[in-house]
C-alpha cells in the first residue's frame, strides 16, 4: 500500500489495469448506484478534498443508530465517483452535515419502506458560481452540478452506511429521485425573500436545505391568476388520502405560478397559512380510506393531529381499538389538516419560465417524518 503524497494514513484501494477495468471493478464490488462511476483515483480525490474546508479525517456525518462516521476523505471519494467537480465539494459536505443533523434522524429516511429521496435545495451566491439549475427541468437530467451533488449523497448512503436496496434500504418501491434530487432556488423569480433568508441566514450566505421527500406531484394550473383558485389545486393534491399525514410539505412554485402570487401581493406567511387551512380531509374521509389506525390513539401527538381542528375539541373518551376505523357521529365535521401548522409547509421557487407546472413533495412516512434542515456551505 503506497503512502499518500502528504504522508497521511495510507488509504485502502485496489490496483486495476485501466479506467474501464476500474469502472467494472466498482460494479463488481457493489460500489455503484447502478450507473457507471468515475474511478476514484488518489489524485482526483485529493483535488476534491482540497476544494473543501475540511481535513480528511473530519467527520461530516455520524449516523448514531449504527455508529458509522463518514469522514471528508470518504465523502470526497464518493463525490469523485458521482462525477462532481472539486468546486462542488463544499455543497456535498454541507449537505452531508445537514442530513447528519440529529433532528433529521437519518436512519428513518435512509432505510424505511417509505423510500424517500434526499432533496437538496441550494440558495445563495454559490448557485451561479457552480451553474446549478433553478430553471427548466430542474428536477430532471442535463445539469452536472444538480445531478452529481445529489448523487454524491446517495453513493455515501450506499457505500458508507450500507443502505443497499433490500438490505438496509427497505424502500417498498423507492423512486427516481433517490438517484439524485438537488436543485437551486430561483431566487429572482420568487415573490419573497430567498428560502434561506426565511430560515435565518443572510442573503449573501450560501446554504443547503434538505428534506426527505416522496416523489413529487405535478400541480397543473394554466387557467387562472387568482391566488385562491391557483392554491386550491395545491391543497387538493396535499389532501389526497394517499399522501395524507401529519408530516411536512415542500411546494416548488413554477415561476408562472409565483408571478401570480407576487402580482396579488401574497406574502410567504399568508400563502403557507392558506395552504394549511385548506389542505384537509374530514376524519370520516380518513376513516373511510382506512387511514386511521388503532395505534394512532395510543399516541398523544397523533390524537392531537386528528382532533386539532375538531369543533368539539378532542373527545373526552377515545374510541376503543375495535371501533377506531368506524365512522362515528361528528366525524364528518372534524377537519384533519395535512401537517401540524403553516410552518410545516416549505415554499420555494424553480422551473422554466413557461408553464403552469409546480410541484408538491410530501414527506415520506405516515407520521411526522423529519424536519427541514438548513446549513451554511463553508467556503
Amino acid at each position: 500500500m503506497a503512502a499518500t503524497p502528504r504522508g497521511r494514513t495510507p488509504r485502502d484501494g485496489i490496483d486495476v489495469a485501466d479506467p474501464w477495468t476500474a469502472i467494472e471493478t466498482c460494479y463488481a464490488k457493489g460500489w455503484t448506484d447502478g450507473l457507471p462511476v468515475v474511478p476514484p483515483t488518489e489524485s482526483l480525490v485529493d483535488a476534491m478534498l482540497a476544494a473543501g474546508t475540511w481535513a480528511p479525517s473530519d467527520v461530516l456525518l455520524h449516523e448514531p443508530v449504527r455508529d458509522r462516521a463518514v469522514t471528508a476523505d470518504k465523502a470526497a471519494i464518493n463525490a469523485v465517483m458521482a462525477g462532481c467537480l472539486p468546486e462542488y465539494f463544499p455543497v456535498v459536505g454541507a449537505a452531508l452535515q445537514a442530513i447528519g443533523d440529529p433532528s433529521f434522524m437519518l436512519h428513518g429516511p435512509a432505510t424505511s419502506t417509505g423510500g424517500s429521496a434526499l432533496m437538496i435545495v441550494v440558495n445563495g451566491p454559490i448557485r451561479e458560481r457552480l451553474g446549478l439549475n433553478a430553471k427548466a427541468n430542474l428536477f430532471g437530467p442535463g445539469n452536472r452540478a444538480n445531478a452529481t451533488i445529489g448523487r454524491s449523497l446517495r453513493l455515501v448512503l450506499l457505500n458508507c452506511l450500507d443502505c443497499r436496496p433490500g438490505v438496509l434500504d427497505k424502500s417498498t418501491q423507492g423512486w427516481a429521485g433517490k438517484y439524485s434530487l438537488c436543485f437551486a432556488e430561483d431566487e429572482a423569480a420568487s415573490p419573497w425573500e430567498p428560502l434561506h433568508v426565511s430560515r435565518g441566514f443572510a442573503a449573501n450566505q450560501s446554504t443547503v436545505t434538505v428534506f426527505a421527500a416522496e416523489s413529487g406531484h405535478n400541480v397543473l394550473s394554466h387557467g387562472t391568476a387568482d391566488p385562491e383558485q391557483l392554491l386550491a389545486c395545491f391543497t387538493d393534491a396535499m389532501a389526497g388520502l394517499g399522501s395524507m399525514s401529519p408530516g411536512r410539505t415542500v411546494i416548488v412554485f413554477a415561476p408562472e405560478h409565483a408571478a401570480h402570487l407576487r402580482a396579488a401581493g401574497w406574502t410567504r406567511q399568508q400563502t403557507q397559512a392558506w395552504l394549511y387551512d385548506h389542505a384537509w380531509r374530514t376524519l370520516a374521509d380518513l376513516k373511510r380510506g382506512g387511514k386511521v389506525e388503532p395505534a394512532f390513539y395510543a399516541s398523544p401527538a397523533l390524537v392531537d393531529w386528528l382532533y386539532h381542528d375538531a369543533p368539539q375539541g378532542r373527545p373526552a373518551a377515545l374510541p376503543d381499538a375495535g371501533d377506531v376505523a368506524g365512522v362515528q357521529d361528528g366525524d364528518e365535521t372534524v377537519r384533519v389538516h395535512r401537517g401540524l401548522g403553516p410552518e410545516d409547509i416549505m415554499l420555494t421557487v424553480g422551473g422554466g419560465d413557461a408553464g403552469g407546472h409546480s410541484a408538491f413533495f410530501p414527506s415520506w412516512s405516515r407520521g411526522r417524518s423529519v424536519p427541514f434542515v438548513t446549513k451554511e456551505i463553508p467556503q
Binding site: 485496489i14 490496483d15 489495469a17 485501466d18 479506467p19 471519494i77 434522524m105 453513493l155 457505500n159 411526522r368
Partner: protein, 95 residues
Amino acid sequence: MMRILDPTLGPPPAAVALPRAPRPHSLSGVTLGLLANGKSNGMALLDRLVERLGERHDIGNVVRIAKTNASAPVSDRDAEMLAGRCAAVLTAIGD
C-alpha cells in the same frame, strides 16, 4: 496500472460487549416494562405477549412506553424510568 480508492467504511465495528443485567428469577409480582418502537402495531404485539405470559406468571404492574418515532432513540427520561421501575423490559416493532 492505476489505483482506485475504497469508498466504503469497511465492516462495522464489533459490538462492544456490555455486561448483562441480572436476570429476574421470576416474573411473579414484578413490574414489567413494554417499549413499543414507534410503529403501528408494536404495542399490540407486546400486549398479546403479556397476555400469554400472564397465563404462566402472576405479573405485577405493566408500564407502557410507545415511542412516537421509530427513527428516534428512546428518550433518556423514558429509559431511566423503565430502568428504575421495571424488573424486565420487552421491546418490539410491529408494522
